[in-house]
């Protein structure tokens, strides 16, 4: 059962995960619910640190290696905290043929990070994403939930600035 941790923010968040697990348990078996729980945990914490994975493993009576095996398999799960703004450059074919790779490069250049990384000030994380299904707007860049369509190289700095200054609204 939920273990008492050195309290603080983490403890609150762990107990939030526990509430979710308890709820699932009441609805039926926890068998097969690992990915759903990981989704919830990442939604709460923004990422899946080791302690959280170990905690979930204990709750589900799974070996921690199994949980780690699942987390490391899916690109949606992250073991490092993501930036405030997650920039996803769509690399679907429709976007690729109109230069999404160049757009990604431009973001890399301007942010000074590679795809898959986060800026040191934790403002931006940059990822190449699989097709988001908005091919009509290719090339597409999704930042948090907002979609930017028909992005040109020249738009890149403007988009970054928009988030830097305006907090993305």
């Amino acid at each position: 059962m939920a273990e008492k941790n050195k309290c603080g923010q983490d403890c609150v968040q762990l107990s939030e995960i526990d509430v979710f697990i308890d709820k699932l348990e009441q609805q039926g078996s926890l068998e097969g619910k690992l990915i759903a729980i990981l989704h919830k945990a990442q939604e709460i914490l923004g990422y899946l640190p080791e302690e959280v994975q170990s905690h979930i493993a204990r709750r589900l009576s799974l070996p921690p290696a199994k949980v780690y095996g699942v987390v490391s398999f899916y690109s949606y799960f992250s073991m490092i905290p993501k930036g405030k703004y997650v920039i996803n450059v769509c690399m679907g074919t429709a976007c690729f043929v109109v230069g999404a790779d160049k757009i990604l490069e431009e973001f890399e250049k301007q942010l000074g990070i590679k795809a898959g990384q986060t800026t040191p000030d934790r403002q931006f994380s940059l990822y190449a994403l699989r097709c988001v299904g908005a091919c009509g707007l290719a090339p597409v860049v999704v930042i948090n939930e907002k979609m930017h369509g028909k992005v040109t190289l020249k738009d890149v700095s403007r988009i970054i600035d928009e988030y830097k200054e305006g907090d993305g609204r």
Binding site: A57, P64, A65, S75
Partner: protein, 588 residues
């Protein structure tokens, strides 16, 4: 003959007509027909219910005539049906197999000569058999750090071919699950949680991953160099002990068929390697029975914690510490025979030989890798000296014998030194599942009733075909004593869960981590998943017991002398100080 016909299906492999067993894979059927199909990921030990069939390596591809163009299918996971036609040697199949092995080699170090698995590696063998001379597809290779943290199991993922046998054995046979597939795509690897070094995990060091690894990705940590050094050191007095299961398998490393006892040649070899005393862990096994039977008597009489669980297997002990820390008052407090031997070698034997215990180096030859870990446990020491200094696996002993240029087949049969070299047949059977409890029952019965046990063999506790948990009942002065034996930790888990739920009806339990017991230990010659070999090793031990005049631990004169001269009574204060231990709550 009607009955057999219904269980057979007619298939054609390479134009040979075969009546295959219904339910068999093409691989099984081909084997029956004398056709070899290389395979790497597939592992199937029917009797022990050990199965890994991910159909992942794609080395066993054969061509199936499907009435159209013929398609390639994995022989391990394709099952026979009436009228099936298979070609294992078509151009297409051979080319596919060769290419797949080439692909594996393209992401594999090519330092075979320096690899501990050289000439024992399936990948190497198949590459040779398939006639691979060049690798057409060179490119990026995956790079992983080697994990030697445990000084027990060495994990070198650079040599891993992702057959996932280790993962399957760890999770499904041992129910531990320390290893998992990690990552995805080209960089996939088999790793521990968060890539932690093995020593920081709940690994029990049973070494079954090593036993099934087809390459050099998982191997035993080698101590041979250190041993050569102490053997060459004139200031050291090097005492060696040998566990029972070693003698049942050592010969296999020198071309002998399985099932030959090599006790005599083994002793001779050890002497020629330069050990000062060549002694027997079996002696300590007899001592263990004295201590453990006494402990059981007092637990039964005084209402102590039951069931008592034998504590010989260090892998099971670590399993209990991690997975059942709440049940740590169940294992017997007895040290394992290896450790008892060490504790006595550096006290009783030292006294008798008049050697400074500090000069004694206690080396053990074990079928087991977990024994290496056990030797490193801090609490297994007395007077500031570890009970056991170094542990060699059966395979390492074989390597040392070869290294020394000793021609094993020409060795005479020699006898163990004395003292601490004599043993009963009860000690021999420690090496196979059920043996410890059988030995325990023999002494427990006779010591507590004073009567002679007519039939020494407890048949219901013997063997491992299709059975993970065995039981026996013995009546002692009107009381029924119920015992159970489990091998493989998944079966141990069943018994432990019963205890946890308060439903266990047993007085004593024996648990051995390895399938079949120590004869299949992680340090033994590779059995290449042949149950035949394991059965023969088991026979060796039961034979040793059968032909010995001495078959009860409590009749071993050297053991009786030990108590008289040194320890006093079993479970005496002195015995406790030297021969008993405590456990650590670890958790997962």
């Amino acid at each position: 003959m009607e009955k057999t016909e219904t269980t057979k299906v007619n298939i054609t492999i390479n134009d040979i007509k075969i009546a295959a067993n219904k339910g068999d894979s093409v691989l099984d059927a081909a084997k029956q027909a004398g056709i070899k199909i290389p395979h790497l990921c597939y592992l199937n030990m029917h009797d022990l219910e050990v199965l890994n069939r991910p159909a992942a390596c794609r080395v066993c591809m054969v061509e199936q005539d499907d009435g159209r163009n013929g398609k390639l299918v994995p022989a391990c996971a394709t099952f026979v049906y009436e009228g099936m036609t298979i070609k294992t040697n078509s151009m297409n199949a051979l080319n596919a197999r060769r290419t797949v092995v080439e692909l594996l080699l393209s992401d594999h170090p090519s330092d075979c000569l320096l690899c501990v698995k050289n000439l024992n590696c399936d990948l190497q063998r198949f590459a040779m058999e398939l006639g691979i001379k060049t690798i057409h597809y060179e490119g990026e290779t995956t790079e992983f750090e080697m994990d030697m943290s445990s000084k027990t199991v060495v994990k070198d993922s650079n040599k891993c071919i992702l057959c996932r046998r280790c993962e399957a054995v760890c999770a499904n046979v041992q129910s531990v699950g320390v290893l998992s597939g990690v990552g995805r795509g080209f960089s996939t690897t088999v790793a521990t949680a968060f890539n932690k070094p093995l020593i920081e995990t709940e690994c029990t060091f049973c070494g079954q991953c090593v036993a099934v690894c087809p390459t050099g990705a998982l191997t035993g940590f080698s101590n041979t160099r250190a041993i050569w050094e102490v053997l060459a050191d004139p200031d050291k007095y090097v005492v060696v002990q040998v566990a029972p299961a070693v003698r049942a398998a050592l010969g296999e490393l020198f071309g002998y068929p399985a099932g030959i006892s090599s006790t005599g040649k083994m002793v001779a070899a050890l002497r020629r390697l330069g050990f000062d005393k060549v002694l027997d862990t079996n002696f300590a096994a007899d001592v263990t029975i004295m201590e453990e039977s006494t402990e059981l008597m007092s637990r039964v009489k005084e209402g102590g914690k039951l069931p008592l669980i034998c504590s010989c297997c260090p892998s099971w002990i670590k399993f209990c510490e991690h997975q059942y820390p709440d049940l740590l008052d169940h294992p017997s407090s007895c040290k394992s025979p290896q450790e008892m031997f060490g504790a006595l070698a550096k006290s009783y034997l030292a006294q008798k030989l008049d050697v400074d215990p500090k000069k004694i180096v206690c080396v053990s030859i074990m079928p087991c890798l977990a024994k290496k870990y056990e030797a490193s446990r801090e609490e297994l020491s007395n007077d500031g000296l570890p009970n056991v200094d170094m542990v060699l696996s059966t395979r390492e002993l074989g390597r040392m014998i070869k290294e020394a240029g000793i021609s094993f087949e020409h060795l005479p049969n020699e006898k163990f030194d004395s003292i601490m070299g004599q043993s009963s047949g009860a000690a021999d059977i420690f090496g196979t599942t059920g043996g410890v409890l059988e030995a325990l029952l023999r002494s427990y019965y006779e010591r507590s009733t004073g009567k002679t046990l007519e039939k020494l063999e407890f048949e219901s506790l013997r063997g491992f075909k299709d059975i993970g948990i065995k039981e026996a009942v013995i009546e002692i002065d009107g009381t029924e004593i119920k015992v159970a034996v489990a091998h493989e930790l998944r079966n141990a888990r069943i018994l432990l869960d019963e205890i946890r739920e308060g439903k266990s009806a047993y007085h004593a339990i024996e648990i051995m981590a390895c399938p079949g017991g120590c004869i299949a230990g992680g340090g033994q010659p590779f059995h290449h998943s042949s149950e035949e070999i394991l059965n023969k090793r088991r026979e060796v031990l039961y034979n040793e017991d059968k032909v010995k005049a001495l078959r009860r631990s409590h009749e071993n004169p050297e053991v009786l002398a030990l108590y008289e001269e040194f320890l006093g009574e079993p479970n005496s204060e002195k015995a406790h100080e030297r021969l008993h231990t405590t456990y650590v709550k670890r958790g997962v």
